[in-house]
Symmetry: C2
Subunit: 352 residues, 2 copies
């Protein structure tokens, strides 16, 4: 009727006229065991003829390795932001895994109150290692895992925890943005942060802003700094405040594109022309940054590279290699569009 009986390594062995063990040796290229070229070919041929696939469960059971990694997505307040980068990150992780013939098991943790939602993956030995996106500092499970030596890599850092991670170089990115404005003559540059300062990323972006100012001999003015809170609404409010300052800034760095969108609308609502009356630079390069009016100059995050980096690092840890750079910061990239005023008078950018 259905399913012709599964092909096992025993069938391959019989077909090739050898023992099952020999088949295993050949197919796994076991080091230290020399197999004559003749038998090797016989085995490979038989396996191909029978369309043999080794059973993953049996293999895992015997070898104690699953050839799978877990990707855990923790719900974060910046969901919209995370969503925009998820496809790129997934591709990065997927490519690395595929290259080493690993699978990727996805798990999303809805509820922060139930943080053991991914522990079962480890307990059941579903995976050999785990990539955790959006880690919470109050995640006890995480530290427990690490203590027992289970391979873990974070996407985004958890300061002081010592857990290996891959993250964006936010400081450098912010500096890139602000230096760009400075180089084009601006001296009064406002900052709208992406979030309250207790968020690591927020503090780092502010640090970059500060560094850029100081390195170019400009003074850091607290009055030119306002706090964003992830969404555009907060950007609107912050920009409104900044425009009350006298004299007002000639340029603003908004440390998040979403916040920048709100800020842009607020400036427009007051009759200001961007970039003519006010230059604006964002951060993240979310997909719609190039569509707003004017197209937003911003800092691109290396989504694919984040995923690929985390995947590569985790696979290294799993294989027991001595991974040296266990804390990886990836470089960002300045994407120049119109909102910064460099292209004054140019028409709508239509390229990718």
């Amino acid at each position: 009727m259905h399913a012709q009986r599964r092909v096992t390594s025993k069938d391959v062995a019989e077909r090739a006229g050898v023992s099952r063990t020999t088949v295993s040796f050949v197919l796994n290229n076991v080091p230290g065991v020399r197999i004559s070229e003749g038998t090797r070919q016989k085995v490979l041929h038989a396996a191909r003829e029978l369309n043999y696939y080794p059973n993953a469960a049996a293999r895992s059971l015997a070898s104690r390795k699953t050839r799978r990694i877990g990707l855990v997505l923790c719900q974060s307040p910046e969901r919209i932001f995370v969503d925009a980068f998820l496809p790129g990150v997934l591709r990065g992780i997927g490519d690395m895994a595929q290259a080493q013939e690993f699978g990727v098991l996805l798990q999303s943790v809805e509820n922060v109150a139930q943080p053991d939602a991914y522990t079962h993956l480890v307990g059941e030995k579903q995976i050999d290692g785990i990539i955790l996106s959006g880690p919470r500092s109050d995640d006890g499970q995480l530290l427990a895992l690490r203590k027992e030596g289970f391979p873990v890599v974070l996407l985004g850092q958890l300061e002081g925890s010592g857990v290996p991670f891959v993250d964006v170089d936010s400081v450098g990115g912010a500096r890139l943005a602000v230096e760009h404005l400075i180089e084009h003559g601006h001296e009064r540059i406002g900052l709208i942060t992406n979030a309250p300062p207790q968020y690591t990323a927020s503090a780092q972006r502010e640090r970059g802003y500060r560094q850029a100012l100081e390195e170019h001999g400009l003074t850091y003015d607290r009055g030119l700094v306002c706090c964003g809170d992830f969404n555009e609404e907060s950007g609107w409010r912050a920009m409104s405040e900044l425009l009350e300052v006298v004299p007002p800034p000639t340029a603003v760095f908004a440390a998040s594109d979403l916040v920048a969108f709100g800020a842009m609308e607020a400036a427009k609502a007051r009759g200001l022309k961007i970039p003519h009356d006010l230059a604006l630079v964002g951060f993240d390069d979310v997909p719609l940054a190039r569509y707003v009016d004017p197209p937003l100059t911003t800092i691109r995050l290396p989504a694919y590279e984040l995923g690929a980096g985390a995947g590569r690092m985790l696979l290294g840890l799993i294989k027991g290699e001595e991974v040296k750079d266990t804390q990886l910061f990836l470089e960002t990239e300045l994407v120049v569009r119109d909102s910064c005023g460099i292209h004054e008078g140019a028409t709508l950018e239509r390229s990718v």
Copy 2:
């Protein structure tokens, strides 16, 4: 040193003073086997005390079930489009899987030339069923899988193949958009398709456009139909053509938001005010649709529900339930913003 020896069901059995089989009976709630409440509690207690997790590989091997489903993402030309919905779809699938204690194994197929990139998942028995996003009609592997009775569900349909699928009701969605325009007085309504007509989704959206016209006694005018090609550039070109027609349309339905963005720019470039001089409705509700100027009225696709529907259907097939609705079309939703002219004079919509 490391890893205190794994806790097995044998340990639980000894601790509870029963046999290993009894443990299995209790933990799996095997139907038809009656266990006294006393032993049941003893077993559960022991398992909890020892922090016991059954080994997934062993369980798979013995039961011939993996409790995992595969999600295969095929590269499609509409990548930008797919990316925007991926997070929602993932959440939908993930939720359904999690509810039944299934895992989700992700696999992306980069290269169309290598379509067997996901066959190994089945051959190795990594998964019990598969969800295929962006199926190609020339995918021989797919039909082979189906023929041998392996549970498959498509995201997006493959006409005439008979493979179970979940898809958007594109016809209904397009009708919704066009009816909205008709109800507000428009009689010359142009269509810009999302893609060349050989694409199923494109043909369906045109059909919906046609149905809406006919049901309201308007005649279908070939001259008011132009072909888009996924991107905004094609939308720009198509809109330029439509505006040459005399008399020009008073409203345009662009069967894709991206195409609509290009069309919107083209209209603006000719000095037309949207929605005053020309009403515009899009399709997809990509995240940035609410940010363009004016915010785009469009048709929302139920991303989460697509994932949830596919997940539910696949899990049903796996459990051998008689799934009756094996071809599922999900309803869309009209999202009214400003580009259609209904809110004439209203201020920028700032709500979610």
